[in-house]
Symmetry: C2
Subunit: 174 residues, 2 copies
DNA sequence: TTTTGATTGTTACAATATAACATAGCTATC
DNA sequence: GATAGCTATGTTATATTGTAACAATCAAAA
């Protein structure tokens, strides 16, 4: 209820690196994995994954819907959610539970749990393996006699870039 | 999309311990803290907190609404969400992000981060301090140059009780 | 080619959450 | 006690997020 930077739908590409490479790599990995697994990487699924990879921000289902509608008049909520379900099942994206939003997985070639660092200023989300954290959780669960099925570990705060550029300029710039 | 035990609204009290003690303790702590802080623990807020503490399960906002309506014809979504906002601000409850639901805080006399163990069978949620996990996260964040504001750490799986009683009987019994 | 299962289209709706403004109730002074 | 200002609640409306159900289409396999 406090801060919520207002940004247009277009200010979403990172200024930090050549981001188109991220998207292309992700799509290529998705093609390979789907082929290996005998599941279909259909045009809708590809387009949703591409849209998700247009930034390192998590994106909401209805924002995805708005963006595919120009290309796909027939798109409806179910269109988007079905593609998201598929991408989640295949481990190609993650859901950020605390945002009700979705982001591309940076390590989709193997199943894993992830630590998500959500910047409340630039809204980028960094995925980290966090091995030490996962080990500590495993120990905790053993103590608790709890059998894990899945984890959601999400940290909200200020990323390093925002912190260093924080005096004033270029805030919320990507 | 796999399991979702169907339970009536009434099967929500734990069979494991004298649960009324949990609720009374929580209400007493809430009274004390609100008084110390000079904030008002109004009847609506108290009733919502009592309802949340009717079980160790996380409860959804609209289920709370259904339950207070008999006593409060005027109750509307905003009634519930405002009480929830207050209780969250005061650290008396936690939101389980991965369920869009709310649970009583077991350690509300001091601010803390928590590890939530969500049983997908009996739907109880256990809150643990998880100090080792928090330390590991702190180290990870230092490496990542990330300044934390808040955490959500939620594990879904099977609790010890459900695992031991799992052959058949008394499943989903509380 | 036919069949079968998976995918998509379509409609309708359920579930979760907030905005905005009006009314009522406390609390602190005068 | 009056009254002014702040907090809490009532009320209406709407925004956002997510599913159910069934029909139509497409694609892989037999
Ligand atoms: Zn990942
Ligand atoms: Zn940032
Ligand atoms: Zn707590
Ligand atoms: Zn259980």
């Amino acid at each position: 209820m406090t801060q919520q930077a207002e940004m247009t739908e277009l200010e979403h590409t990172s200024t930090i690196h050549d981001h188109s490479g991220c998207r292309e790599k992700a799509i290529h990995t998705a093609e390979k994995l789907c082929s290996q697994r005998g599941v279909r990487f259909t045009p809708i699924r590809r387009e949703i994954l591409e849209l998700i990879w247009e930034s390192h921000r998590a994106i909401k289902a209805y924002d995805l819907l708005d963006r595919i509608k120009p290309h796909m008049g027939s798109a409806k909520p179910a269109t988007v959610y079905r593609a998201l379900d598929f991408l989640l099942e295949q481990g190609l994206i993650h859901k950020v539970e605390s945002l009700n939003a979705f982001m591309g997985c940076s390590y989709s070639d193997h199943r894993h749990d992830q630590l998500l660092l959500v910047c409340v200023q630039c809204h980028e989300v960094e995925e980290r393996p966090g091995e030490r954290v996962m080990e500590a959780i495993a120990m905790e669960l053993e103590q608790a006699a709890f059998t894990m099925q899945r984890k959601a570990i999400e940290i909200h705060g200020i990323c390093g870039r925002c912190a260093s550029s924080s005096s004033s300029s270029s805030r919320a710039a990507n």
